[in-house]
Symmetry: C2
Subunit: 97 residues, 2 copies
DNA sequence: GTCTGACTTAGACGTTTATCTAATTGTCAT
DNA sequence: ATGACAATTAGATAAACGTCTAAGTCAGAC
């Protein structure tokens, strides 16, 4: 939708996002996904980070559960893109402090 | 200073802030401190959160280490205020994703 | 079908974290 | 100094977390 209306986060969602961002490696992964305009394939992330596929899978799931990325699967491969609505909502809540 | 110039965060500082915000109770404490225009005394925080003084002390130190709050001590008591420069810097970095 | 390649799940291991109680430090008032 | 109060530190404990290896699933190519 990318609606103009600001997405509203529950406390639970907010906590999930905060936790997801709190792990440096996970944050780097998110940054990398964000740098790619289109969707980024998983293998490209693996190349950049010295981490096992299992660990990467774990981090991606955390990011997805938090709503920070959206995952699309085409055949064997997956691609990710940052969900900027959610990120904006997180920033919005933080900036109210 | 509350300079107009945006405060720059190192990766380490950024990680500290992210971690500090990731704990729901700690975030609530920060919100409470932020709501008070002036500085908030410690006892006022204790009243609002069902947590031991030791735990509160621990959380406040985390927030202070992250730079999110500034602590002033007058006699027995301490007061805290949100450091909005740091918060702004954190938001700034996040919004670049 | 069988193989290969991309991801996931399960289980284990060590580290970090939030929390507590108890003891300590430090400051003010008497 | 003695007592009362505010906050910190120390030490313990249980839960959560990041990471790995090994095994599993599942889609496409042959």
């Amino acid at each position: 939708m990318t609606s103009a209306r600001e997405t509203k986060l529950t406390d639970k969602q907010f906590a999930l996002i905060a936790r997801a961002l709190a792990e440096p490696r996970r944050f780097q992964i998110l940054e990398q996904i964000g740098k790619c305009e289109a969707s980024l394939p998983c293998a490209a992330v693996l190349e950049k980070h010295e981490v096992s596929a299992a660990t990467l899978s774990h981090h991606l799931k955390e990011l997805e559960t938090a709503g920070l990325i959206e995952v699309t699967r085409t055949g064997k491969c997956m691609s990710m893109a940052v969900n900027r609505d959610i990120l904006r909502a997180y920033l919005g809540r933080l900036s109210k402090i």
